[in-house]
């Protein structure tokens, strides 16, 4: 490296431009491959982009915080995009109102299994208490899961990672599990992905159909609502 290029690198690495541009380039590259592979779930662009970016940051010795200073502009859009979920849900309100009982049933079953099985299996395999408390809200959307984790004594930043990994596993496996169980109703398919894999599940469900995406959105919102009430209540019961 000539001193000149080093100077340019030193300058660029302090501006948000680099983190933002690299995120967009890597994601679009990963999405291009995903599209070329006929949307094979194993090539989902999120985990591949994350892996590529981690390698790039490690090789260039860039701290996560420096990268995030740029990438936060993309991260910020999660807020308005969550609000925007109301738009595709609106035309499905009729179907949703007819499916209130199945939706609540599916939510309760899925929510209990999500938290219970994760904590139970991790405990059987000897995970530490901190990990157990951090893994409990892993199917809930990240901002809420982090809040819950903090309240019950886990590590919020570890929870954020576990939430992401859960989302990736959910979007990769959902198609196979649902096809194996011969579930054809797009409302049920979308809702199941949303319960298990929060916002990332919604993104995946929208690639299938508007109906699946809308029901995945309902699932994420109800999981957020239910768990932010239920987890503190459970903690209160157990610590009395």
């Amino acid at each position: 490296m000539t001193p000149r290029i080093t100077d340019i690198w030193v300058y660029l690495s302090t501006t948000p431009l680099l983190g933002l541009t690299v995120t967009l380039l890597v994601y679009q590259g990963a999405f291009w491959i995903y599209k070329r592979a006929d949307f094979n779930p194993l090539l989902n662009p999120v985990p591949w982009s994350v892996a590529t970016l981690v390698v790039i940051l490690t090789v260039t010795n860039t701290p996560y915080q420096t990268y995030f200073d740029g990438a936060q502009f993309v991260h910020f859009l999660l807020g308005p995009a969550t609000v925007a979920l109301a738009v595709p849900l609106y035309p499905q309100l009729g179907k949703l109102s007819r499916a209130v009982v199945p939706v609540i049933g599916g939510l309760l079953a899925g929510g209990v299994v999500a938290a219970g099985s994760a904590v139970g299996i991790a405990w059987l395999l000897g995970a530490s208490d901190t990990t157990l408390l951090s893994i409990a809200p892993k199917s809930v959307t990240a901002p809420i899961a982090m809040g819950i984790s903090e309240k019950i004594g886990g590590l919020p930043s570890l929870t954020a990672v576990l939430v992401m990994v859960t989302g990736v596993l959910g979007v990769i496996s959902a198609k196979y599990v649902l096809n194996f169980l011969r579930i054809t109703d797009h409302a049920v398919r979308g809702f199941s992905i949303g319960v298990a894999a929060h916002g990332m599940g919604i993104a995946r469900a929208f690639q299938v159909s508007e109906e699946a995406g809308a029901f995945a959105g309902v699932a994420m919102a109800l999981m957020a609502l239910g768990s932010s009430i239920l987890f503190p209540l459970l903690l209160w019961v157990f610590t009395r």
């Binding site: 940051l57 990268y67 807020g79 995009a81 570890l158 990672v161």
Partner: protein, 118 residues
Amino acid sequence: MLGALTVLLVFQLVGEVISHGLGLPIPGPVIGFALLLLALAVRRGVPAELRTTATGLLQHFSLMFVPAGVGVMVHLSRLRDEWLPITVALILSTLLTIACTALVMNWMMRRFAGKEEA
């Protein structure tokens, strides 16, 4: 597009104010989502501009999870120490969650769906 984006941000802002003002554990964007749904129901329809913007934004919803996902690099050593319980728990739990939710909801759809409808 600018108008629709402003609408989304205003709903998010109102959601944040309600969430923090009342000390609710529910994040602002989720409250904003519920309020926008309510507003659309009252208005009986989605304005074309809002529909276009929302669709465009949601098309790239996956991209928005990438920056937080890269945060995995901060926890690599902790994950290395407990990789087995974490991996097995997350994989099995995700499969079980999808399967249980789908089976219960599917069964109830056939049994109860539409019955409470007028």
